[in-house]
């Protein structure tokens, strides 16, 4: 970027009538990092990046924070925080105040924390029998309002479960009464530990607020150990660790650059672009770790609340549907992903091959992933046009739910850091939440890792991981601005895709800092 462009874009930001003061400050800061030189990458990598075959999520030229940080809140509560001069809390009120102080000091690429803790476990010791459910609800309600107003970003995410707890039940009650977009919530489900009526309580909450997301706890534990959490747009990572960065590869664009057979794609074209994506990841990781010295200097690291050995990077893919359909068409076949057994089989070959390649490409400072990137089914950003998020079936082209699940489920085991498929349920489910519980249990038996439901007619629109209210989108359309940064991203997607008018209320995951 030259100085003239910098000036023009800065000018546009400061004069933008729909952005609030804080939103302008954050965007100006992001703009400034674009004046810093990009980490050194090869010409071929740069070319693929410029053509957006591969993508750095617009994180900025010189990463100076890890993208996804999962502080060990339980340890912080236990030991207190030296840097922030916070002693260990002894009451529920103190613990909630402690957490809020900590949240506003946890960095991320959006400037807002993407992980707010496994709240049931973090607060468990403070919820004594002296505190009634009504008192607990009142305290969490105040806390919830504070989270939404102080951290106005729907990527801020907390986890609950798999065991039942008073905190979890209270959170669901508060959620249903407040109906806020923030925070985002995941319920960890273990078929042996999570009672049906807790899952059903979660389902009833989905009907009101589009939350929680459901994750397959045993599957996550197998990949990450007990200390994991789903954060931001449903990225599953290690607690006390996280992801340095997220790079992604557009499988549609890769397929468009391919001529030849399917085997030549799998063993020639695909490996070439996987390596370019990996090169980009490595350059960004080295920049963060070796040039900006994030893990040597940040207080979360020096106080032992994060450990670089519990970090890795996320290798995202998207556009599988278009990739498969293009490869089918190149063979003179018209079968489509989600509707044709051969197309579905091909989709599994592509994902399996990417998984092999990523698992064979060592990555520095990625001990959290055993020295390799985590594979991730990436759910899109608002600049993605004519390409389907992650490994999803294109919006509007989904088959019935059973076929939808059986098409998507085989992919899930490959994506340790999350998939986040979305299923659409109609309003009749509201009178029969057990039906949704049945589907959740079945989906986990089928090997699904994580997914969420969207209810038709809900005021909330799920973008991918994050939620917005339709009324907030309408306000942006009327040029009156938005309190949540994520609403502005959603408005961009809505303008492009009109997703709120589609069968499935989904937009696309937006984790980039907008230019």
């Amino acid at each position: 970027m030259d100085v003239n462009e910098f000036e023009t874009r800065s000018q546009a930001l400061v004069t933008d009538g729909t952005l609030g003061y804080d939103q302008k400050v954050r965007r100006l800061a992001a703009l400034a990092t674009e004046m810093v030189p990009y980490p050194i990458i090869s010409a071929e990598c740069q070319q693929a990046l410029d053509a957006r075959v591969i993508c750095d999520m617009y994180e900025g030229n010189a990463p100076f924070t890890a993208r996804y940080i999962l502080p060990d809140y339980e340890k912080a509560i236990r030991n207190g925080l030296a840097h922030l001069e916070m002693p260990p809390p002894t009451t529920l009120d103190d613990a909630l105040a402690f957490l809020m102080v900590m949240y506003v000091n946890v960095p991320s690429v959006t400037t807002y924390p993407v992980y707010l803790g496994d709240l049931d476990k973090v607060l468990e010791a403070f919820v004594t029998s002296q505190i009634s459910d009504a008192e607990l609800d009142a305290k969490l309600r105040r806390f919830w309002i504070s989270i939404d107003r102080i951290l106005p970003d729907a990527f801020a995410h907390l986890d609950l479960g798999p065991r039942d707890s008073r905190v979890t039940r209270s959170v669901f009650r508060v959620e249903r009464s407040l109906r806020q977009a923030v925070p985002n919530i995941t319920l960890k489900v273990d078929p042996d530990l999570t009672p049906d009526d807790l899952i059903e309580d979660g389902v009833r909450t989905v009907f009101e607020t589009g939350k929680p997301h459901f994750v397959n706890h045993p599957m996550m534990v197998a990949d990450h150990g007990e200390r994991y959490a789903a954060v931001s747009c449903y990225n599953s990572l290690k607690i006390g660790g996280g992801a340095h960065t997220l790079v992604r590869m557009n499988l549609k664009e890769v397929a468009l650059r391919h001529t030849g057979t399917v085997d030549e794609f799998l063993f020639g074209t695909l490996p070439r672009f996987v390596e370019l994506t990996a090169e980009l990841a490595e350059a960004r990781i080295r920049s963060l770790v070796e040039s900006q010295h994030f893990y040597d200097t940040h207080w979360l690291a020096t106080e032992g609340l994060i450990d670089i050995d519990r970090f890795s990077a996320m290798f995202g893919i998207f556009g599988l549907a278009e990739c498969v359909n293009l490869l089918m068409a190149a063979q003179g076949r018209d079968g489509r992903y989600g509707h044709d057994a051969d197309a579905d089989l091909l989709s599994r070959r592509v994902v399996e091959r990417v998984s092999e390649l990523v698992a064979a490409r060592p990555m520095p400072y990625c001990e959290g992933g055993g020295g390799f990137c985590y594979l991730h089914s990436q759910s899109g950003i608002d600049l993605d046009h004519d390409v389907t998020a992650g490994t999803r079936i294109p919006v509007g082209d989904e088959p019935g739910m059973l076929d939808h699940i059986t098409t998507c489920a085989p992919h899930h085991r490959y994506f340790a850091s999350g998939v986040s498929d979305i299923f659409h349920v109609d309003e009749t489910a509201v009178r029969n939440p057990q039906a949704v519980v049945d589907i959740i249990r079945g989906a986990f038996v089928a090997g699904m890792r994580d997914f969420t439901f969207n209810l038709d007619s809900n005021e909330f629109v799920r973008i991918t991981g994050y939620l917005v209210r339709k009324s907030d989108l309408a306000a942006i359309a009327a040029h009156s601005g938005a309190r949540h940064s994520s609403d502005l991203l959603a408005a961009g997607s809505e303008d492009t895709f009109h997703l709120t008018q589609r069968a499935v209320k989904r937009i696309g995951c937006h984790e980039r800092e907008p230019r």
Partner: protein, 244 residues
């Protein structure tokens, strides 16, 4: 299992045909000819020839479909058409589900108009977990006008299935100006309360979509009217009422 039945269609997932998520078999053929039927194509009973053959499905074949959906289900429901026109098929389908190691967790429900006598029900009762019975109208005369049949067997079925612990729900399909008179609904509620004061009652408003044209046109009750009916029924007994 080589038993076959006349089947109009199946759906893998339904959340409106009994408790939880259910696989539904819609049989072909009904002994009622309801003016308000929203699946009128399932009414004709095909006894002969290629028309009959077109609808024949074997229990074995259906079991293959059910097994695929089973991990996601609370159970299966046979709906219609009228399930009890093919009691041997229903019996053999349910028996096969019960005997299949992969399907033992599934419950087997019947959605019926109730117009079958006890000897027919006896064929399926040993393998049935629950029933949902439509009561088109408590008034015999209006019932005949609406369905072409008496309601005598329907009322007897409701009483008997309840006594056997197999009545999951009674459904009242309301057509504005036809069977939604307050005095009639009060009588209906009083009779239902003698069967079970805590009965699950589903109050369903007629919807013109899918139904055949009628002269004069059938009228959909308003949501407010349906709620008023629920309120009225609640004054009679503590029914578990669901309005849709």
């Amino acid at each position: 299992m080589t038993t076959t039945g006349s089947v109009a269609s199946t759906i893998a997932f339904s959340n409106v045909d009994g408790p939880g998520n259910r696989f539904v078999v819609f049989v072909q053929g009904c002994n009622f000819d309801c003016v308000a039927c929203h699946n009128p194509q399932t009414i004709p009973v095909f006894q002969h020839g290629h028309e009959r053959a077109r609808y024949q499905r074997s229990v074995t074949d259906l079991l293959t479909e059910i097994r695929r959906a089973a991990p996601y289900l609370s159970g299966i429901t046979v709906s219609g058409g009228e399930a009890m026109l093919q009691p041997e098929f229903v019996r053999d389908l349910f028996s096969a589900v019960r005997d299949d190691a992969a399907l033992t967790q599934l419950t087997c429900f019947i959605d019926s108009n109730g117009a079958s006598d006890a000897s027919i029900w006896d064929l399926v009762i040993p393998v049935t977990d629950g029933t949902m019975i439509d009561l088109k109208c408590f008034d015999e005369h209006i019932h005949r006008e609406m369905t072409g049949q008496s309601n005598e067997l329907v009322l007897a079925s409701i009483e008997r299935l309840h006594a056997l612990g197999l009545l999951y729900e009674v459904r009242l399909l309301l057509l504005a100006g036809v069977n939604d008179d307050n005095a009639l609904l009060r009588r209906t509620g009083e009779w239902l309360a003698t069967v079970d004061a805590h009965m699950r009652v589903k109050v369903i408003g007629f919807r013109a979509h899918g139904a055949r044209a009628h002269d004069p046109p059938l009228v959909e009750p308003t949501p407010e009217r349906l709620q008023a009916v629920a309120d009225l029924l609640h004054t009679i007994a503590p029914f578990d009422i669901c309005v849709i």
